[in-house]
């Protein structure tokens, strides 16, 4: 009980009702379940249930719970707000400018949901009421797997696989590998950078002039950028787009566009 004052002030039966409600709200599996239970008090087939009356019952239930200061889960309150809205839609004639579905459409869908949930519950009970293996019927007690030859095979379950993958991915939460690329110029990046530029390389130009700005100062960055740019130039040469030359060992590498010289 949230408030001891209520205990002393309210009559015993109100307190009992409050306790019953707590138990009941706990016993319901969400607003739809509560609605389904309330709808039984109408004693009609679910297809004929009055959604308006049901909404009022639900709102009344929520009001009582509130006045008894019972804490209700948010989704019960959301449903209450929605039902209040539905009620107003059902009671007021719709105006020409009204947007969205009509009250009747909304009510029909709620009725459908209730009927569907009820149907699923009945089927669930039917399934569980069937003869079950290990309870009503049984499999062979001593499976015979007579086997003469032996072959080793490896096995893994889908769970193993998923857990393995999850393990890797969780580790990545702590070691985001993509971040490592901050200080690395990839081959793809170098290629992307060089492709548009080589159009202008009619004459021999130093490969080092193709390094991206800002990558020359820091030795680590420069090393990565040089390697990537060099690899990219090899790739472009392989594609027949450029030619490469180097005067002697350790001399600067130069490139130029190939088509300019046939």
């Amino acid at each position: 009980m949230a408030d001891p004052i209520i205990d002393t002030v309210s009559p015993i039966d109100a307190r009992r009702a409050a306790e019953a409600l707590i138990v009941d709200v706990d016993g319901f599996e969400g607003p739809l379940d509560l609605l389904l239970t309330l709808s039984r008090t109408q004693k009609v087939d679910l297809r004929g249930v009055s959604i308006l009356a049901l909404s009022e019952q639900y709102l009344g239930f929520i009001d009582r719970a509130k006045s008894l200061r019972i804490e209700l889960a948010a989704d019960y309150l959301v449903m209450a707000a929605w039902l209040a809205f539905l009620k107003s839609r059902l009671l007021l004639p719709s105006e020409p400018g009204d947007e969205g579905p009509s009250g009747e459409e909304l009510a029909a869908h709620l009725a459908f949901q209730l009927e569907r949930l009820q149907a699923m519950r009945e089927r669930a009970a039917q399934i569980m009421g069937r003869d079950q293996k290990g309870r009503d019927f049984f499999a062979r007690g001593v499976p015979e797997n007579i086997a003469r030859t032996r072959r080793t095979t490896y096995t893994a379950t889908l769970l193993d696989l998923m857990q393995g993958y999850a393990r890797l991915r969780t580790r990545d939460d702590f070691r985001p590998y993509v971040m490592d690329r901050d200080r690395v110029l990839t081959l793809e990046q170098a290629l992307d950078r060089m492709r548009p530029l080589i159009g202008f390389a009619g004459g021999w130009t130093d490969l080092s002039s193709y390094l991206p700005e800002g990558w020359e100062a820091d030795p680590g960055l420069r090393r990565s950028a040089t390697a990537a740019t060099f690899a990219a130039s090899l790739e472009l040469a392989r594609e027949g787009r450029i030619e490469l030359r180097q005067a002697e060992t350790y001399a600067p590498i130069q490139i130029r566009r190939k088509d300019s010289h046939g």
Partner: protein, 220 residues
């Protein structure tokens, strides 16, 4: 059966159908799990016809204490359900399933393939991790094909083990399936506007999985 005279297969003449029946009887009897048609055909001598022999075998066990049952595309011997009362000794005590688990199972069976969101929409509450876990562990459900809808959510379907456990030949034999379909209760009826109830949140406080991160890993 015996009239087949595949000239190219004279070397491996199929055994008489009665022999094939005995072989299938031995194979299926020996296994606790249902034995698939493909495995039967692979284990019978070349030229055999498991499907035909099974018809005879099935008839032979009709009304016996042990009967031949079909589970999906596989076959198994199971004791006759009406004899459950003499089988107390073999009975295995199973953990009682929660109401949520039972309902979730039924929803998956009748609506499969079904996404978690759809299950939640039908039950009106979010599906707890433990519920799905328990059903996966029992091997009554498994992951099915992804839905071709935004976010490409995974779906759940029931397994052969589920069929076997509840003595169903296929998911089409679920009780009252036709009636439900006829009543439109299996339709995927879109909601007019936004109806509450299909709670979106996780009910166990595992709040770190926004809807966006399921696509994350498949995006290139």
């Amino acid at each position: 059966m015996a009239e087949r005279d595949d000239e190219e297969e004279t070397l491996f003449e199929a055994p008489p159908i009665a022999e094939q029946e005995r072989m299938i009887e031995a194979i299926v009897f020996a296994s606790a799990e249902p034995v698939g048609m493909a495995e039967l055909n692979a284990r019978l001598p070349l030229g055999s016809d498991a499907a035909e022999a099974l018809v005879y075998l099935c008839k032979r066990y009709e009304g016996r204490g042990v009967t031949l049952v079909k589970v999906g595309d596989a076959w198994a011997f199971r004791t006759a359900p009406d004899l459950g009362f003499v089988m107390q000794k073999e009975r295995v005590e199973t953990r009682k399933l929660s109401r949520a688990a039972i309902e979730t199972l039924a929803i998956i069976a009748y609506h499969q393939p079904v996404t978690r969101a759809e299950i939640e929409e039908i039950r009106g509450v979010s599906v707890s991790r433990g519920t799905v876990d328990q059903l996966l562990e029992l091997e009554w459900i498994r992951f099915g094909r992804r839905k071709m809808s935004p976010g490409r959510p995974v779906t759940f379907v029931v397994t052969e083990e589920f069929l076997d456990h509840f003595g169903l030949e296929s998911a089409r034999d679920l009780p009252g399936l036709k009636e439900l379909r006829a009543a439109g209760l299996l339709d995927n009826r879109p909601q007019p506007g936004n109806l509450p109830g299909a709670a979106g949140g996780e009910d166990d406080g595992d709040g770190d999985n926004g809807p966006e991160d399921q696509s994350e890993m498949f995006e290139e």
